[in-house]
Point group: C2
């Protein structure tokens, strides 16, 4: 084994062609075993192995700086930069994150996980280098899927004017997470078909020099190409064509399924723990039904399918009522506004963490215009993705505080479907919906069909003394805490607000009559969130005390959700204990 | 006069060449007079007159739909679509907004004012049309300055794949607000120099068809070009070259100064009410001093100079320590993170309303990485731009709730300069600063030089019973209210928090001893803001009442700031009256 002896890139610099070939194979074998047991990004890493070997052969990391876009393709880089044990030793698999991480190694420069940032981040490193009078190489490695994002395109334009060393390795495997969408992909294809000589060339049009490597899995060709641009004094793009998932037949044949994969059986490719999410399944059915019954209905995706997991077959079924704009959330939101203004009924769905990219589009393109588009946010919960770059629980301060936007947090599958249907059928408001994570197994009340009486909360149970207002995913937690309080002799009022974007002031006023303690529970950070609005509403009232449950304003990385929940007293037992104590006080 | 007879575009469709020429002249004359008296956008409107006449001659608005990017060039359009009185009758100048506005006319489709959105918005209209089986033309008119923005570039890519009617009029006047920056502008220049035939062509590289009109102020050439693409069934770009400010010598010669102009003397071009802002002036001096004393200091702009008004001479003085990335805020923020990571000391400055575009870049590229970059936000106040598309007072919920980001609101010129200097010199935190609007004329306390003790508030005056916590621009308002309270026999405590992003819990706890009413004042919306954090902090305390002063979560358009302030009780008199009443209660 070569792999296990590598402690830094210096170890591979004098490798022979044969040694590099063996190293690449060892890396693939290790990645395959690890992925099958641990899960993780698959296709991006299998495709980039030779390029990473070539980069670390030609350049001198970390003096020369390699910035990985999204960095879901950083596993081979980590294997060559002192972290190989986390890839070959099962007991150490968890010792590295899934993304570049400066806390792990001086060879990593940024924690990244959102797409299309590498060129912009690297441009700052290049300018800092120039100001300091240094001369190292700055390399941004970016995939074709990421190139459709606005930040990357802005970066190309800015870098196109920098008269300095700046190397972009454009990793073209012909795929985004799903298939690529957009006009640039036609001209990239032309470049591939003409050995890089086609006239229409996005990079040259942005003012950059351009080189082409037909086989981006040929380590020797890559070494030649990288050597040719090393120490260049002008910005240059090296377009390399790689095969996503290379070396594992299932991944080569179905790159979308194998972009990211949970633990699987190596022989069959089958998931070890197959899982279907009832919210996803119901959403898919709803979208198909809408498309059939309303010719003006359209679902927008931005590369990711929004966690709804629409398969290629589902997408084909939706036909021209499905639009994937590529990784371009800003465009998707503005397009949704245009669709609504033009009389169509759009839903744009993506993950909560990616909705962070569109505050201004939601505020300006949508909310100022009061365009009745629907936005479906997936994974807005502490019980979802737990990488620091993919947290979904910052959305309440962002989207509950935009005027005109109705932000809804349903609490069960039934309520979610009712809310979704109402949102698409009404044409008065832009609506954002948090697809539940968890929630009530069964709704404890008949769900409404009409939500046009804005900010009307749902009283789940009438009680006295204590009221628990549990929003969305935490409505069920409020219910569970109330049940335990009842066992202690306290019949609490339980409320599911449904609306995160406004207060039911009539109800809040009424609560004053019989209650002295209000608890709010939200699945997100407290700062700027839902509960603070309630606390502020009762700010001048000396009879009512308000306690907010949720997370503090902090980043967390690869946390245990149950530990985090305990830390913030987000369990029924802790809430009950707190309440009994408060009532005594 | 032709102009005054025009009530809809139908009136000009059968005009002769001579009539169109005279109409264009009448429009310029009217715009010049209005601008000299009323102020407004200048260069963009003077350059686009012929194109707008041609568009309304060829296309049938509002069935055919013209979407203006930024829409600061919509004045000629408004003149031809039933709103001419607002341009020729001084008493009616204020009857139209400065941007497209669906409430004014069915010929306007969106309220817009931020750049780079037209293609994306229009793509939604096009898709809605296709779903409904209609066939009208959809036209997006976008300037070269706006083309550097990520949303526009995402839009080009998406539209490049749409096999349908979609017409982009690319208005190339060779200028952004300042000069253009980025590699694409070199290839646009090549297109201009080769009559549109140069090989490097951004639009073709994005999959669109392309046409070129060398003189975009030649109405007849434009009519021919637009007629040729009318009802086209493929997306096409019509690249027209216009002269910014055409027809007024001062504007032609200095397009940056004349992009937007306050009222001026027509003969000399001089401003009627010249004004210098002490914060701007001090900032400029500071930037130049930093650049001289620290070779690693760099100021980033995104097309707008960030309201700091750095003149071309100032920029030349800053040399390579000044970077304008064009209208590309996302890139600017990520680049700032890269600069900080690379050891440079960057400040990125822009308007508060444009910072809305970068929540995710601030959170991911900067805050997750804790990159010590500095962000200077201009116009975060109700006392600043008052168009609904340019409001600057939504920033506290956005940026005060991102972990790691230190968000500061200084309250006087001295404090602002101290905060700015500390931010640039420290390397532990990303910092955003609200450049004051108004504030104390003179600081009532010696300002700190060191702000590294995070969330340590400034006690301005010690008192009892009532504490006023007035943030940033409203610190002086808190002081004024306290002075009036003292005349009523109440010596209140006055606090300037300085930090918007965290609580001084030690101080808040200490206040409990002698106070029973806490007032918070912030120059922004209350929802998700600063005061609600204070209210929530005291939520379980029955001795303390908290009242939050600020704006409700609403959009306002062309409001009177003094009326808005009265509506929300943001005057010392009202605060005192409220307080006296509350103390009795």
């Amino acid at each position: 084994m070569y792999l296990e002896t590598i402690t830094s890139p210096a170890d591979i610099k004098s490798y022979t062609v044969a040694q590099r070939t063996m190293l690449a194979q060892e890396m693939r074998d290790a990645l395959l075993k690890r992925a099958s047991i641990h899960g993780g990004h698959f296709g991006p890493d299998f495709g980039i192995i030779e390029a990473v070997i070539a980069l670390h052969t030609v350049f001198d990391s970390p003096t020369d700086k390699i910035i990985y876009d999204v960095s879901h393709q950083c596993y081979p880089h980590k294997m060559l930069t002192g972290r190989v044990e986390a890839y070959i030793n099962e007991a150490q698999y968890d010792e590295v994150s899934g993304y570049t991480n400066p806390e792990e190694s001086p060879h990593d420069f940024f924690n990244v996980g959102h797409t299309s940032t590498s060129i912009s981040l690297a441009s700052g490193l290049a300018k800092a280098r120039d100001l300091a009078g240094r001369r190292e190489n700055i390399i941004a490695l970016i995939g074709d899927g990421s190139m459709s994002g606005g930040e990357a395109l802005e970066g190309l334009n800015v870098v196109g004017e920098m008269e300095t060393n700046f190397i972009i390795v454009f990793n073209d495997n012909g795929h985004s997470i799903a298939e690529n969408h957009g006009g640039m992909y036609r001209t990239f294809k032309e470049l591939r078909e003409t050995n890089g000589t086609a006239e229409d060339n996005l990079f040259r049009a942005m003012g950059l020099d351009y080189r082409y490597v037909a086989d981006g899995n040929d380590c020797e060709a890559l070494i030649a190409a990288f050597s040719a641009v090393k120490n260049s004094t002008k910005p240059v793009v090296v377009h390399i064509v790689t095969q996503k998932g290379k070396g594992y037949q299932f991944a080569e044949e179905d790159p979308e399924t194998w972009h990211y994969r949970m633990p699987f059986d190596i022989e069959t490719g089958a998931l070890k723990h197959p899982y279907t999410d009832p919210y996803q399944e119901a959403t898919k059915d709803f979208l198909k039904e809408q498309a059939k019954t309303n010719p003006n209905f359209v679902f927008l995706a931005a590369g990711t399918m929004g966690g709804i997991g629409l398969s290629p077959k589902d997408r084909a079924e939706l036909g021209n009522q499905y639009v994937d704009v590529g990784i371009a959330e800003e465009h998707a939101v503005a397009m949704a506004s245009g669709l609504a203004r033009g009389g169509a009924r759009p839903i744009f769905g993506t993950y909560s963490t990616f909705f962070q990219r569109v505050y201004d589009q939601m505020a300006q393109d949508v909310a100022v215009n009061n365009s009745p588009a629907v936005f479906l946010s997936v994974g807005a919960s502490i019980y979802y993705m737990n990488d620091v770059t993919h947290l979904g629980f910052f959305d309440i301060p962002i989207f509950a505080n935009i005027p005109n936007l109705v932000f809804l947090a349903p609490a069960s599958l039934d309520e979610y479907m009712a809310v979704l249907r109402w949102s698409v059928e009404q044409t008065r408001h832009p609506v954002m919906i948090r697809m539940p994570v968890g929630g009530y197994e069964e709704s404890p009340y008949p769900v409404r069909t009409d939500y046009s009486d804005l900010n009307k909360y749902q009283v789940v149970q009438e009680g006295a003394d204590v009221a628990l207002i549990g929003a969305g995913n935490f409505a069920a937690l409020a219910g569970a805490a109330a049940a335990q309080l009842e066992a202690e002799g306290i019949k609490a009022t339980v409320i599911n607000p449904i609306f995160l974007s406004g207060l039911d002031t009539a109800l809040l006023d009424r609560l004053k009559e019989k209650h002295r303690l209000i608890l709010t529970l939200e699945d997100g950070i407290l700062d700027g969130g839902f509960g603070q609005k309630i606390a502020a509403y009762y700010g001048m009232d000396t009879q009512i005390r308000v306690r907010n449950y949720g997370l503090s304003k902090e980043f967390h990385d690869r946390y245990s959700a149950s530990e985090l929940a305990r830390e913030y007293h987000l369990t029924a037992e802790q809430i009950v204990a707190d309440t009994l104590f408060a009532l005594k006080g």
